[in-house]
Amino acid sequence: MYAYDEIDRTLVNERVSEFRDQVKRRLSGELTEDEFKMLRLQNGVYLQLHAYMFRVAIPYGTLATNQLRALAHVARKYDRGYGHFTTRQNIQFNWIKLAELPDALEDLAKVGIHAMQTSGNNMRNVTSDQWAGVAPGEIEDPRIWSELIRQHTTLHPEFSFLPRKFKIAITASDHDRAAIKIHDIGLRLIQNEKGETGFEVLVGGGLGRTPFIAKTIKHFVHGRDILSYIEAILRVYNQYGRRDNIYKARIKILVHELGIEKFSREVEDEWQHIRNSSLQIDDEVIEDIRSRFTYPPYEKLPHMPDELRQAAADPDFEAWRKNSVAPHKVQGYSIVTISLKPTGGPPGDATAEQMDALADLADKYSFGEIRVGHEQNLALPHVAKRDLPALWRALDKLGLATPNVNLISDIIACPGLDYCSLANARSIPIAQELTRRFANHELANLIGRLHINISGCINACGHHHVGHIGILGVEKNGEEIYQITIGGRADENAALGTLIGPGVKFDEVADVIEDIVEAYLALRERPEELFMDTVKRLGVEPFKERVYATR
C-alpha cells in the first residue's frame, strides 16, 4: 500500500474545498453551466441520462480496506447502494446529487481517495497491473512509478486543458494486464543491458471511433528521465494536437497524421531541452516513494498446505480455485480474483454490502488490501493458500465466487443506454443475456479463455475493438443494431478485431455469439487452441459463413 502523508492529504483537502466553492457558485448562478462543466469534469462529475454520475479514482487499482468501506459508505449515503467498477480502475456512482457531491468528496478525502481528473481533457487516473507487486517475475513494483507519475500529473499547471483526455498505463510483467497498447502513453518497465531500470515508451494507442494500437516511440528511457520524457510528449501534444474536431483531438490522431518518426523527432527535440532540469528524479526521491509502499509481513508457508489438499475433494471449490486463483511471488500465497460478473448481473457492479463484506474478508485474509483490474473484477492480492477454502466459502455466501474469470461470461461492458447519454444502444442487457446463455461452467471451461467486450456506442468504453469477440451497439433508423468483430485482443499482442459482416438486431446478438462459439469448437485443432488463435489461423471467413448462412 502507498501511504499518503500530510502533504498528499493537504492537496486533496484543498481540492475538495475548491470544488465546494465551485458547486456553490454554480448553484447560485455565478458560474454558467458551460463554465462549470469543465470544472465538474475535472472532479469526475458527468451529467448522464438520469442524474449526475460521479467517477472516483483508484490509482493503479490499489485499495485499502478503509478506502473500500468509504466507497461503500458513499454508495449507501449518497447513491442507491451500489457502485460500478470501470475498465480504468475507477468506480462510478450513478445517482448522485450535485449539492451533496462536496460532502461525498470530503468523506472520501478522509481516507485518501479523490476524484481529480477522472474525466475532462486532462491526464486521467494512472492505471497499472492489478497484480502489481505480487505477480511473479516483475522487474519491480510498477506502482512506485505509477505513484510518481500520478503525483506529477495531478493538477499539472501546463496540461490541465489538453486537446482531449490523456491516459497512461504501466506494466512490469511480460504478460500485459494493464492494456498499455490501447493507452495514450503505455509504459513497460524494463531493464537495459546495464541492469538499469527504465521504460519502453509507447504512444498513440486508443479506441473510440478511430482505433489505434500504440507504437513504440522510444525503446529505453531511463527511470530518472521518465517525467521529463512524458512532459516532452505532452508539450508537443498540447501545442499541436487538433482542437478543431473533438473526434480528431486524441494524441493517436496527431501521431498518425505526423507519422511516428516525425512525432518522435519533435518529442526528442523538446526532451533535449528539459531532460536535465528539475524534472530529473533523484534516487533519493524514488527511494522515498518506494519506502511508502509497504508490503505484508509474509510468513514462511508450505507450497501445499493440508487445508488445500483436503478441500480439493470438493469439486465446486476446485472449479473456483482452478479458475480464480493465481500464483503469487511468495511461496504459500495466492492472488485471488473476485468475479464481479455473476450470472444475469451487470458486469462490474458491487453493492455496498458486498464492498463492506469484502473489506472484512481482505482484513482477515489479504493483509487489508484489495485490487481493482481493468476487466472490472476485484482481487485479493495476498491470500495464504491455507485460507483459500475458508475464503471461498465466505465469497460464495456473498455471491462473489462465480468461477468465470477470463471465461466467456467474464464480460467487459460499458453502462450503455441504460445510463449513458452518449450511448446509442444497450450494453448491460446484452451482457446479462450472454452470462445466462453461458452459465454452465463446464461449457465455459470447455470453451476456455474468451473475452467478450461490449460498447453501447462508437466511443468504445467497453473496449469492443480489443475483445476476442467485440460487440458494438449503434443506432440505425431508430433501432439498436449490433456489429460483431472477432480476433481483437488487449494484451502484449494487442490487435483490433475484424468485422464479421452486417450488424444484427438486439434479440439476435446472443444467438450469433452462440453460433460463433459453436463454430470455434468445431474448428479448433485441439482443446488448447484458444478462440483467438483459431481466429488468427483461419481468419473471419468460416465464422462469417456460420453466422450468416441461416440469416
Binding site: F159, S160, L162, N238, H273, S277, E284, V285
Partner: protein
C-alpha cells in the same frame, strides 16, 4: 474587463491597437503579433512601451529576438478549455528567460488563476469583476504542488526530502 497585476486590480496603461489603427505618437501600445513583426523597428523606437498580443497557435520562438525590448506579452485563451498558452508561457519564462509582464487574456476565469501563476503569468485580464476581486484569495487556495515549474514553488517531492533531512538533524 478588470486587469489584475501584482495581485491587485489596477489600471491598464496599454492601448490595444488593431492591425490598422493609426499608431499614436506616445503612450503604451499593445499590438497584434503580425503587426508587431511587420513594424518592430518603428514600434520599438517610440517613447511609449510596447506589448505584443501573441496568438496561441503561433510559435513563440519567433518572438525571442525581441524579448529584451518589449514590456508585455499578452497570451490568449480563446476559451478556457484551450490550454496552448500555458505551454507558451512556460517556454517564455523557463526557456527564453523572459522577465517582462506576462499577461493572460481572453476567457480568464478565477478557476485558472493558480495554473496561470504556476505557468509564469503575472498579469490577468479577468473576465468577471467578482473573479478579479477574489484574486488574492484564490491564488492562495493551494499550498501543495507536485510539479516543478519556473515559478520556483517547492514541489511536494522536494519538501518531503527537506522534512526528512531536517528530522534527521535532530536525531
Amino acid at each position: 474587463m478588470p486587469l489584475v497585476n501584482g495581485g491587485k486590480i489596477t489600471g491598464d496603461s496599454f492601448v490595444k491597437l488593431a492591425v490598422d489603427t493609426p499608431l499614436p505618437e506616445g503612450g503604451d501600445v499593445l499590438v497584434p503579433a503580425e503587426r508587431f513583426l511587420g513594424e518592430a523597428d518603428t514600434l520599438l523606437n517610440r517613447s511609449g512601451k510596447v506589448g505584443v498580443i501573441w496568438p496561441n497557435n503561433r510559435d513563440i520562438a519567433e518572438l525571442v529576438p525581441y524579448l529584451g525590448k518589449i514590456a508585455t506579452v499578452a497570451l490568449v485563451f480563446p476559451t478556457f478549455r484551450d490550454g496552448r498558452a500555458y505551454s507558451q508561457a512556460r517556454l517564455l519564462r523557463e526557456r527564453y528567460n523572459y522577465r517582462g509582464e506576462l499577461r493572460a487574456t481572453g476567457q480568464v476565469l478565477r478557476d485558472q488563476f493558480v495554473f496561470m501563476l504556476r505557468a509564469g503569468f503575472d498579469s490577468f485580464d479577468v473576465k468577471k469583476q467578482a473573479d478579479a476581486e477574489a484574486f488574492m484569495q484564490t491564488a492562495k487556495r493551494y499550498s501543495v504542488f507536485y510539479q516543478p515549474t519556473g515559478d520556483g514553488r517547492i514541489t511536494a517531492l522536494h519538501r518531503r526530502m527537506q522534512l526528512r533531512h531536517s528530522e534527521g538533524v535532530g536525531t
